[in-house]
């Protein structure tokens, strides 16, 4: 039986690790390469890097980080944030990332999903979704709307319809981030995760809101998600990956316990 994945997310800016709350007030907390290597040793199943470098000119720093990470860890990792073009995708994958995640760029140009899937395979292309709960309208029948640019811009696009469309275009996986839950440590947005996960046939990574192992249990227990993204709960030492996995394992969620 397939294990549920526990995936630490490392926010990187100008080659340094940060973690923001609600996309504001980021503080440096370390070196992404060393942190990734530590997570590898600690039993992370995969690692997500999210590049929040503001300037496109500084992207080479991230590519260099990706290259160093690939020499140190032998589990899959993905890179997202600031991926705007096919060439951006190619560079990240060539530097050693297993997957590349597109978010705002895919909303502006959905063709980048199919282009990437065609060239590298669907398994390489992760659709990052930033989603906000809104009133149900004719335009947003699911009550969840896609937002972009780190949550600043509403798009008028229904999240469920977008997830299905991206799957059809060739996305191999969805990283589903609730803007409302992100950074709250109050738990994942379970309704949203269940809605998307039950309507697509590609894996869904729940993102935003994890504060305790129980929150992770809640989203993984009934297949609302295939994997859980975590950040602050392990970055600041409140929990280890092993503690989280032991908690899940003892409650009947299949996770990888040997590494």
């Amino acid at each position: 039986m397939l294990s549920k994945r526990i995936i630490p997310c490392l926010d990187v800016r100008d080659g340094k690790l940060t973690k923001g709350v609600r996309f504001k007030g980021n503080v440096d907390i370390g070196d992404p390469v060393e942190t990734a290597a530590q997570y590898y040793r600690d039993g992370a199943d995969e690692i997500v890097f999210y590049d929040i470098t503001a300037s496109h000119e500084k992207r080479d720093i991230m590519i260099e980080t990706v290259r160093k990470v690939a020499e140190k860890i032998f589990i899959p990792f993905s890179v997202g944030g600031g991926i705007r073009t096919f060439e951006d995708m190619r560079q990240v994958l060539l530097a050693g990332a297993e997957k590349v995640s597109v978010n705002s760029a895919a909303i502006r140009n959905p063709g980048i999903i199919s282009e990437g899937a065609e060239a590298f395979g669907s398994q390489c292309i992760v659709l990052g979704m930033d989603v906000k709960k809104v009133q149900v309208t004719d335009r947003i029948p699911s009550g969840y709307e896609m937002v972009i640019d780190g949550g600043r811009t509403s798009t008028g696009i229904d999240a469920l319809e977008w997830a299905k469309r991206a799957e059809a275009l060739g996305a191999g996986e969805i990283c589903l981030n609730s803007i409302d839950a992100d950074g709250t440590k109050d738990g994942y947005e379970l309704t949203l995760n269940r809605l998307i996960s039950s309507n697509v046939n590609i894996p869904v990574i729940a993102s935003g809101g994890a504060g305790t192992p129980e929150h992770i249990f809640d989203v993984l227990r009934d297949d609302s998600a295939d994997a859980a993204l975590i950040a602050s709960m392990t970055h600041f030492g409140s929990y280890t990956i092993k503690e989280i996995k032991t908690y899940l394992h003892e409650r009947g969620v299949k996770v990888r316990m040997t590494w």
């Binding site: 020499e71 032998f74 589990i75 060539l94 050693g96 395979g121």
Partner: protein, 208 residues
């Protein structure tokens, strides 16, 4: 020298990096004479069977591989490489190398409700001992990404099995050839152990 076969099938550098980490000399190559000279061969791959076979044939790599197999060189198939060594794949209805008899089937998605591709970590239940799995903890898990799986005619070719939708052969062996449906280069320390074992393997299918 270990030859990592290059046939435009996805990112081969991750296998190379794993070899570097293990301190093993390897080269990514699509040159038949380098493959003929190599001490052992890794046949990786991500992508689709049809295109892969076309590219292999174009470079004569299909014959180079079969020759290496007949010469009893240790060969390790990974993911698509493991499927290509079978006779035939349902993917693009492709005639493959036929080193192991049997076919490659697609996961039946409708019946189970489970997602395809099979992506993530899963266990491999070994059917017997094998030099490549020596020192690997039995409850280790390995990283899979695939929508098709090998189905050998001869059950003796099945080295390990994995449960997903159906129970399928996730590790195969045929003398000097071993083949994994999962990615040992992305499966953490247990995966590196398999690769390290392969680098030391004499190509004989036994465990003392």
């Amino acid at each position: 020298m270990i030859a990592i076969i290059d046939y435009n099938a996805g990112n081969l550098t991750s296998v190379k990096r794993a070899m570097d980490r293990l301190g093993r000399k390897s080269v990514i190559t699509d040159d038949c004479s380098s493959i003929a000279r190599a001490e052992r061969i890794i046949f990786p791959g991500v992508g689709a069977a049809g295109r892969a076979m076309t590219d292999l044939k174009k470079k004569g790599l299909d014959r180079a591989l079969i020759e290496a197999f007949n010469e009893k060189k240790p060969i390790l198939g990974i993911c698509l490489g493991t499927q290509i060594i079978m006779e035939r794949s349902e993917e693009n209805d492709t005639e493959c190398l036929g080193i192991i008899r049997g076919k490659v089937k697609r996961f039946a998605v409708e019946s189970s409700g489970l997602k395809v591709p099979h992506m993530g970590w899963n266990s491999v239940m070994l059917r017997r001992k094998h030099p490549l799995f020596q020192g690997v903890e039995p409850d280790s898990e390995f990283y899979f990404v695939h929508s098709y799986y090998p189905l050998p005619d001869d059950p003796d070719r099945v080295l390990g099995e994995t449960d997903y939708i159906a129970r399928f052969a996730s590790a195969l062996s045929a003398g000097n050839l071993a083949a994994m449906q999962f990615h040992p280069e992305k499966s953490g320390e247990p995966g590196l152990k398999i690769l390290d074992n392969f680098c030391k393997w004499d190509g004989r299918d036994y465990v003392e």
